[in-house]
């Protein structure tokens, strides 16, 4: 699939809208303040696995920025960028996951989860805290703890929601020459 096709653009728009709705209205508060258990990352990983890295980066970026905007506290750039990097990282592997062709077996489930775990570790364990320190001059132990808690929660929700979505999507996709009236 071409990276800049109209379909990818629409996927980015709709993906960001879904990311927003899930993140803004279906967020579940976690024990650590300021940090939500966010189910939107399951969605992000799923769409990135279908449409590729560009879609992943931009859905994370736009969706997260819109959420921040709607709360009115400006854009918390460090976390927005981390979301984008997570989406992009999972998206890199979209060819390997071959979800668009409607194939999603055991091998792909394992790969998908491997990529998403690494992606979350990079995003929340490294990128977000470093940017927090760099941009906002916040204390290191605070931002790393926050990042780790968020990352761990995101890994769990992505594993559940993302995998279910991939499986359901692959099942719904009609295979070549498969539809005949019975």
């Amino acid at each position: 699939m071409k990276q800049f096709s109209v379909k990818t653009i629409v996927a980015i728009g709709i993906g960001a809208a879904l990311f927003f709705v899930l993140g803004r209205f279906v967020a579940i508060p976690s024990p650590v303040p300021n940090t939500n258990i966010s189910i939107q990352y399951g969605l992000l990983a799923f769409i990135a696995a279908i449409f590729g890295p560009l879609a992943g980066v931009l859905i994370g970026l736009i969706g997260h920025a819109l959420i921040d905007f709607s709360y009115g506290w400006g854009i918390w750039w460090s976390w927005v960028v981390a979301s984008a990097i997570f989406g992009g990282f999972v998206g890199i592997w979209f060819k390997k996951l071959s979800l668009y062709d409607g194939v999603f077996g055991k091998k792909q489930i394992i790969l998908f989860n491997l990529y998403q775990i690494i992606g979350h570790i990079i995003a929340w364990g490294i990128v977000a805290p470093l940017l927090d320190i760099l941009i906002y001059a916040e204390p290191a132990n605070k931002v790393f703890t926050q990042g780790l808690v968020a990352g761990a929660a995101n890994i769990v929700t992505t594993a559940v929601i993302g995998s279910i979505l991939c499986i359901a999507y692959a099942a719904a996709k009609p295979k070549r020459d498969s539809l005949a009236k019975e």
């Binding site: 719904a172 539809l179 019975e182």
Partner: protein
């Protein structure tokens, strides 16, 4: 001699996912400036044919094309989608999905923006197009703030801003109220006369489209073209009925009376048809000989609304003091203009929107005490838009969902689901994913998923929109059968004949008010109610008046009796 603008030669198409081709050996030439109507049963490939013309096939839907399809003098497969869309402007079947802009104005401007038209020029052209379709007062509205009819107008304007030679409409009338449908057809005619473009309309509501003349009707079934004739010729054959399409009602009535329809009679329209004195006599004779109908006695009150009012969070008051009683075992309809509050009323009954206490009662019990699920044990509601109801990927699972949650044993689930699928004409597709169905087929899946639950009272929101006559008959006959077994049926519909044919009673809504509650025939005999609730009298009424029949209503009810008997053969 007119130039051919679209020509199919031995054309065929198979979707990648399908085993069988969807279109076979299509031979069709459409000339510049023609107005064409394409009709055919649901799922026969009309939208697929349209997608071949506008280039979505092969550019977006992948599959195997055979034969040749030329636009002007060039093969479409050698053109780009952009080149094709400079010639063909499409209004898609799903008018919600093609509303892309944030507001009406931006949506109309969309094609101009992409063509880099300058700011001032664009604003002028948008204004002109909006005025042509009479939507200029809503330029700043978001799609969520428009009624179905208004959205349809916006999609029209979105195609009109660009000077386009071929206009292609996929079911422009589905979901429009009778008055708006008539206006749309008049509007299409006006546009064609003004721009001299070629117009292709795909529609199940044949009689409504023929309100204004078309040059030819293409009749399709099972992916083939069966007929390509002038309306006068086609209506003189029995092809329409034989292929599960409803012919205009006055034609059917004349045929029942034993009158031979010939092209010289100009049967294409109720106002153009020429009837000899002899024909009129025949019709009168048939009317007098038909057996009389016998109405059903009323039962106990099942559902009562006592002063129901409702305001949406955006301060739109959708219902004002509705008082109505629905009796056990009756089959009634709710009719009225787009945006009159019909769907809102149904949603209140099901608990999808919250109403105040002491306003809705089911068998004397205050409904506000019950959750949606508890109400659903008694009341089944088929929503207007099938996409809002579909939640499983496979058809079988979708229909079985409600039974599974009610913990019905596996074997019984299978039987009941298969039965419901048969009623709705979906049994051959039971193992398909929902996403591979046409719009009309999806709607039937949602009907099946409610029928399977055996509710006491069933509310169907536009059950026959986008359905062909065969499936219409099957669904309606099954509902009648349910009704005879004591199930109460409420139909929300824009189809005047459906209301006359199946319902003993109708409630007409207008602007959130209940403006009439009477027998369907009485409602349609009050010009005041007709105009308030955007209804339309049927062509049977007009026919009866033209033939000097003293009691047109009795004529209609005798037609219906006869028609039911003929169809159940």
């Amino acid at each position: 001699m007119k130039q051919p603008i679209i020509s199919f030669e031995h054309f065929g198409f198979k979707y990648n996912a399908q085993v069988e081709p969807t279109l076979f050996d299509i031979n069709l030439t459409i000339y510049e400036g023609e107005k064409i109507l394409i009709a055919g049963p649901s799922g026969c490939g009309k939208s697929t044919l349209a997608h071949c013309i506008n280039g979505l096939i092969p550019f977006s839907y992948k599959g195997k094309m055979t034969g040749s399809l030329r636009l002007g003098s060039r093969e479409t497969k050698d053109m780009s989608l952009f080149e094709i869309s400079k010639t063909v402007g499409t209004v898609l079947q799903d008018s919600d999905a093609q509303f892309i802009g944030l507001t009406v104005a931006e949506d109309i401007a969309f094609v101009l923006e992409n063509d880099m038209v300058s700011f001032d020029d664009m604003h002028n052209r948008v204004k002109t197009a909006a005025q042509t379709v009479d939507i200029a007062n809503h330029l700043k509205n978001a799609p969520q703030e428009l009624s179905g009819g208004q959205k349809q107008r916006v999609s029209l304007a979105g195609v009109l801003v660009d000077n386009i030679r071929v206009l292609l409409f996929d079911e422009p009338l589905a979901n429009l109220d009778p008055a708006a449908g008539k206006q749309t057809i008049e509007l299409l005619d006006k546009i064609r006369n003004k721009t001299n473009s070629t117009v292709i309309i795909i529609e199940h509501r044949l009689e409504d489209v023929l309100h204004r003349d078309v040059d030819r009707i293409i009749l399709m079934n099972d992916g083939r073209i069966l007929a390509d004739m002038r309306p006068d010729e086609l209506l003189s054959t029995n092809l329409l009925r034989a292929n599960g399409i409803r012919e205009p009602l006055y034609i059917t009535a004349l045929k029942y009376a034993g009158i031979d329809i010939r092209p010289e009679m100009f049967p294409r329209n109720i106002s153009s048809i020429r009837l000899s004195e002899e024909d009129k006599k025949k019709l009168q004779g048939w009317y007098e000989n038909a057996p009389p109908s016998n109405p059903k006695p009323p039962g106990d009150v099942l559902l009562s609304a006592r002063d129901v009012s409702f305001t949406y969070p955006n301060n739109v008051t959708a219902l004002h003091n509705i008082r109505i009683e629905i009796t056990k075992g009756e089959m009634m309809s709710i009719v009225g203009s787009n945006g009159a509050g019909k769907s809102t009323f149904a949603k209140l009954i099901c608990g999808f929107e919250r109403h105040s206490e002491d306003s809705l009662f089911l068998s004397g019990m205050d409904l506000s005490q019950y959750s949606i699920k508890e109400r659903a044990d008694h009341i089944g509601y088929v929503m207007q838009n099938p996409n809002q109801m579909l939640s499983k990927t496979m058809i079988f699972d979708e229909v079985a969902l409600g039974l599974k949650y009610r913990k019905v044993p596996e074997a019984e689930v299978k039987n009941r689901v298969e039965f419901a699928l048969k009623i709705c004409g979906l049994y051959p597709f039971r193992n398909w994913p929902v996403s591979a169905l046409s719009y009309g087929q999806k709607k039937r899946v949602t009907i099946a998923s409610i029928l399977v639950l055996d509710p006491e009272i069933i509310i169907l929101d536009e059950p026959t929109a986008g359905q062909d006559f065969k499936h219409y008959t099957e669904i309606m006959e099954f509902l009648t059968e349910l009704n005879q077994r004591g199930v109460t049926v409420v139909l929300i519909t824009h189809d005047m004949h459906l209301m006359l044919e199946y319902c003993s009673r109708a409630a007409a809504f207008s602007g959130g008010h209940l403006v009439a509650d009477d027998t369907p025939a009485n409602i349609l005999s009050q010009p005041d109610t007709i105009s308030k609730a955007s209804l339309k009298e049927t062509s049977l009424f007009t026919l009866a008046v033209r033939c000097g029949i003293a009691d047109p209503e009795a004529f209609i009810s005798r037609f219906i009796e006869n028609d039911r008997r003929e169809r159940s053969r």
